[in-house]
C-alpha cells in the first residue's frame, strides 16, 4: 500500500497526534520516528506530501531531513517546528525545495495541517484543466467568455 502522506516526527507525542488526526480525517498516512526509516519510506512510497516535524531537532537531523527533501520529486513539504529550527532548516535546503513547501511555526496546529493536506491532495487529484465545474461554466457565461 502506497502512503500519499508521510510524517517524520521523532517526538512520539506530536507525531502521534498528527498521525491520529490525519487518519481520523480519512487520510492514508505513515508516521516514522527514525530518519533511516523515513528515507526508506519516502523512496518507497513517493508521497504527495511529506510532513517534517523538526521541533528541537539536532543539526545533523536537520541536514539528514534536508537530504531526504531533495529526493521528494515534487512532493509538497510541510515543515513544522520552532522558528529557530525552521531557520536552520532553511539554511540547509535549496531554493527549489523552499518553493514547494509550507513552514509552520509552533504551536502545533493539527487542524490547520489537516486542512492544508486535504487542499493539496484535492488539487493534485484534479488537474487544473479538468475542472470544468458548474462554477466555471457560470463564470464564463457571465463574463461572456
Amino acid at each position: 500500500m502506497a502512503f500519499p502522506v508521510i510524517i517524520y516526527s521523532a517526538d512520539k507525542s506530536r507525531g502521534g497526534i498528527l498521525h491520529k488526526i490525519l487518519k481520523r480525517n480519512g487520510l492514508s498516512t505513515l508516521w516514522e520516528n527514525q530518519l533511516s526509516q523515513t528515507q526508506a519510506a519516502v523512496l518507497t512510497h513517493h508521497p504527495e506530501i511529506f510532513i517534517a516535524d523538526i521541533k528541537n531537532a539536532l543539526k545533523n537531523e536537520i541536514v539528514f531531513l534536508a537530504n531526504i527533501c531533495l529526493k521528494l520529486q515534487g512532493a509538497f513539504l510541510i515543515v513544522i517546528g520552532g522558528s529557530v529550527d525552521i531557520n536552520t532548516f532553511e539554511k540547509q535546503v535549496s531554493e527549489l525545495v523552499l518553493e514547494n513547501n509550507l513552514r509552520l511555526t509552533d504551536p502545533l496546529s493539527p487542524e490547520l495541517i489537516v486542512s492544508k493536506v486535504k487542499e493539496v491532495l484535492s488539487l493534485r487529484e484534479k488537474p487544473l484543466q479538468a475542472q470544468q465545474t458548474d462554477l466555471e461554466i457560470d463564470l464564463k457565461q457571465f463574463l461572456k467568455l
Binding site: L128, Q131, L135, L139
Partner: protein, 304 residues
C-alpha cells in the same frame, strides 16, 4: 503617468473588488503577521472616502490622516505616520473628506510618489472596492497584489474583471509611453471583444500586437510571465469553497495568460466577528484561531 523610483521597500496592495469581502480585516491582520515576522510595516488606509482601518486597531483618535495630506495641511506623508500598540507596525489613517474618493490626478500622483518613498520593509496599501483608476493606479506601484474574494459568483466575477482591468491599464500606460496610436486603438478593440473575437484572449491580443510591434508584444509577454497575483478566497467554509480560487486560476490562465497566480484561502472563523466587535485585530485577540494561521501563511508567502 510617470511612476516614481523604487526603493528597498516592498509595497503590497490589498484589494477587494467587491465590497464587504473582508479586505480591511485581512489587511490589518496581515500587517500584524508581517510585523510578527520581524518586518517593519506601515499599513496605509487608501480606502478613500470609506476609511476604517484604524478602527480595527482600536485607534479612536487620529491626530493626522490622509485628509491633512490631501488638503495640503501636511506636506510630507511620513509626518502622518502613527505608531500603533503593535511592535514594528505603524499606520497611515485614511481620509474621509467629501470628494477624496475622486482624487484629482495631480494629487493622486503626489500621493503615489510619497507612498513610494516611505521607508519600511513593507508598505501595505488597503485599497477601496471597485476597479476605478483611483484603485488600479495605486495597485500599479505595488510589487505584490493580494486580491481578496469570497467563494460566491458575484465576488469571483469582480475579481476576474479587476485583474483584467489592471492588465489593460498597464498595457494602456505602456502603449502611451511608447506613443504608438495603433496599439492604443487595438486595446480599445480588445475591450469590445464580442465584436473582435480574436482579441478575446490575451494570446490573441499579443499576436495582434506582434503584427504591429514585436518589442511591445514581447514586453506584454514578459509582464504576464512575471505577474503573480495572489488570490485569497476569504470566508471559505469548506474545501469546495477554497477550490473556487482554482476556478478563477483556470480562467486567468486560459484567457489572461497568467500562468503563475498564487491561490490561498482563509477559513470562515467566528473569532473574526468577535475580535471586530471588540475593536481588536484577530491576531491579537485570537492568535491560535484558524483565521490567524491562514493569515500568517499569507505573510510567509509575501516574505518569500
Amino acid at each position: 503617468m510617470a511612476l516614481p523610483d523604487k526603493n528597498d521597500t516592498k509595497i503590497v496592495a490589498i484589494v477587494g473588488p467587491k465590497g464587504g469581502v473582508g479586505k480591511t480585516t485581512i489587511s490589518a491582520n496581515l500587517a500584524i503577521a508581517l510585523s510578527k515576522l520581524g518586518k517593519n510595516v506601515i499599513a496605509v488606509d487608501l480606502d478613500l472616502g470609506a476609511s476604517n482601518l484604524h478602527t480595527l486597531f482600536g485607534i479612536r483618535e487620529t491626530k493626522a490622516s490622509l485628509d491633512d495630506f490631501v488638503l495640503n495641511k501636511i506636506t510630507n506623508l511620513p509626518d502622518i505616520v502613527m505608531n500603533t500598540d503593535v511592535n514594528n507596525l505603524r499606520i497611515i489613517c485614511g481620509g474621509n473628506i467629501p470628494g477624496i474618493a475622486n482624487l484629482h490626478y495631480n494629487k493622486k500622483l503626489k500621493l503615489i510618489r510619497n507612498l513610494s518613498q516611505l521607508k519600511s520593509d513593507f508598505v501595505l496599501l488597503d485599497l477601496g472596492a471597485g476597479a476605478s483608476s483611483n484603485v488600479v493606479d495605486f495597485l500599479i506601484i505595488a510589487q505584490d497584489g493580494v486580491l481578496v474574494t469570497t467563494p460566491e459568483v458575484p465576488s469571483l466575477l469582480n475579481a476576474y474583471s479587476f485583474i483584467k482591468t489592471l492588465i489593460f491599464r498597464r498595457l494602456a500606460l505602456h502603449f502611451k509611453q511608447i506613443e504608438q496610436k495603433e496599439l492604443i486603438e487595438l486595446l480599445d478593440k480588445a475591450r469590445d471583444f464580442e465584436s473582435y473575437p480574436k482579441l478575446k484572449t490575451m494570446e490573441g491580443l499579443i499576436e495582434a500586437v506582434r503584427s504591429i510591434n514585436v518589442a511591445a508584444a514581447n514586453s506584454i509577454r514578459n509582464f504576464l510571465t512575471n505577474y503573480k497575483p495572489i488570490v485569497v478566497v476569504n470566508r471559505a467554509r469548506s474545501e469546495k469553497d477554497a477550490d473556487t480560487g482554482k476556478v478563477l486560476q483556470n480562467l486567468m490562465n486560459q484567457y489572461l495568460s497568467i500562468k503563475s497566480s498564487i491561490i490561498l484561502s482563509v477559513h470562515e472563523d467566528t473569532a473574526v466577528g468577535i475580535a471586530v466587535t471588540k475593536l481588536k485585530p484577530v491576531l491579537l485577540a485570537a492568535p491560535r484561531s484558524l483565521f490567524a494561521k491562514d493569515i500568517e501563511m499569507i505573510a510567509q508567502v509575501l516574505v518569500r
